[in-house]
Amino acid sequence: MSHLDTELKYLKDELLAMHRLVLSQVNKCKNALLGFDTDLAKEILVTEKRVNGMELKIDRDCENILALFNPVAIDLRAVLASLKINSNLERIGDNAEGISRYVLDVNTPFPAPYIEKFAIGEMADIALSMLEDSIQALENEDTTAARKVFLKDDLLDIINRKATSATMELIKSGADSPLHYLNLLSIVRKFERIGDQTKNISEEIIFYIEAKVLRHERNTD
């Protein structure tokens, strides 16, 4: 294995470690939210610092590879894709942190009918499944797994679009605990962003492997 191969392998391992950490953060979000576990929500805030630290480290490693090895072709795409995947993972981490803050913002558990109305459990499961697909895609350089993410993102978008009318209905009906349902609306938006960011990651994996640019295409599959 050449020196550059060793550096790229190390970079990929770092990205996968960050990817798994971010997946764990989103999973904790789901559990903190559905189980109203404020300790778990606080744990997410602490762990977010680790996510940020990893982002800086991966950024620096990419910069070093570009400066020292002048990679071209697939190696260049690997580094460029890593930079963008890194940035998207960090933002997913931020969204997980945001969700945990909404959990800590309320004093009592989110009412089950609200959770159901906003399809929070379903959203969290889809987002987690997308992150698992993108990890598999990166680890095995598997663009089929990467493409699975796109269809799942469409499902998140559908749920997200319904959330506004769900909120309107609750307002019109004079439902109790407006802070709870307003926070849930914000949480829906966060999960939708997590979906977009995971989709971005999958696009970068496809760019790295197939040299195809899918960004800004309407139909990415």
Binding site: S2, L4, D5, V72, A73
Partner: protein
């Protein structure tokens, strides 16, 4: 417009098949880089265009090699006239054991030009074109060997330009130079491509990326791939090209 074309060119050195069916077009006023491992045929291919390979007795060449639409291997082609049109710069600077001025003026005199004012004007213009005038204008009478390696190479480029070629062949022109001289040569190539069709052989991948519009990858006498340089260095189509440029060859 294509300045140079080759169609199914085969070249043998005795029993050795050095170029295998090479067909390629080179666009006027562009820089084409030839890359590939040692012995792949890129320098042999470069030397087709000023018929330098003719100097090797065992060489046998087949196929069409056209410069400005004319087959340069046809009977009756004047090789001296061809070499006025197709200049060449070599890996190591090879100035003549003469003054800086005479190095440039030599080619003009050999071609029968005697007008002193004309020669002086052409020497200055060639040195300016090769970005050397500012450094040597006060020492034109000094020996060319007093110049640094990078300056000597630019002098050789000026010498080639003095007879007003339209094609410039460069065989690893910066491989023996330090980074500063290399940068000057590369900037010069960038400037010259507006007026000349340049073909450069280089082992330096980054140099090919920086200076050329198109890059051709040769391997074992075959042209494996030619495309825009930015395509070759970001998404080559052939796995052998990718392995070579990423250093995973062999």
């Amino acid at each position: 417009m294509n300045k140079i074309e080759t169609h199914n060119v085969n070249l043998h050195y005795g029993d050795f098949h050095a170029l295998k069916g090479i067909s390629m077009s080179i666009v006027e006023n562009s820089v084409t880089a030839l890359i590939g491992p040692s012995g792949c045929g890129k320098s042999t291919y470069l030397r087709l265009f000023n018929r330098m390979n003719d100097l090797i007795s065992s060489v046998k060449i087949e196929g069409d090699i056209l410069v400005e639409g004319k087959d340069i291997y046809e009977r009756g082609v004047d090789v001296d006239e061809l070499r006025k049109k197709v200049g060449m710069v070599f890996q190591k600077p090879n100035p003549f054991p003469k003054t800086i001025f005479e190095n440039i003026a030599y080619g003009l005199r050999v071609n029968g030009i005697k007008d002193k004012a004309f020669i002086e004007e052409r020497v200055e213009r060639s040195l300016q074109q090769s970005a050397l005038w500012g450094e040597v204008k006060d020492k034109l009478k000094k020996s060319a060997f007093e110049l640094s390696g990078g300056q000597q190479q630019r002098l050789c480029i000026a010498r080639a330009l003095a007879i007003e070629p339209t094609v410039l062949l460069m065989d690893e022109p910066a491989s023996a130079l330090d980074p500063i001289s290399t940068t000057k040569i590369e900037e010069l190539i960038y400037e010259l491509k507006n007026q000349y069709t340049i073909i450069i052989v280089t082992h330096n991948m980054q140099q090919a990326g920086r200076v050329s519009d198109r890059t051709a990858f040769f391997y074992m006498g075959e042209l494996i791939e030619i495309d825009e340089t930015k395509v070759i260095f970001t998404n080559p189509k052939n796995v052998r090209t990718q392995n070579y440029i990423t250093g995973r060859f062999g």
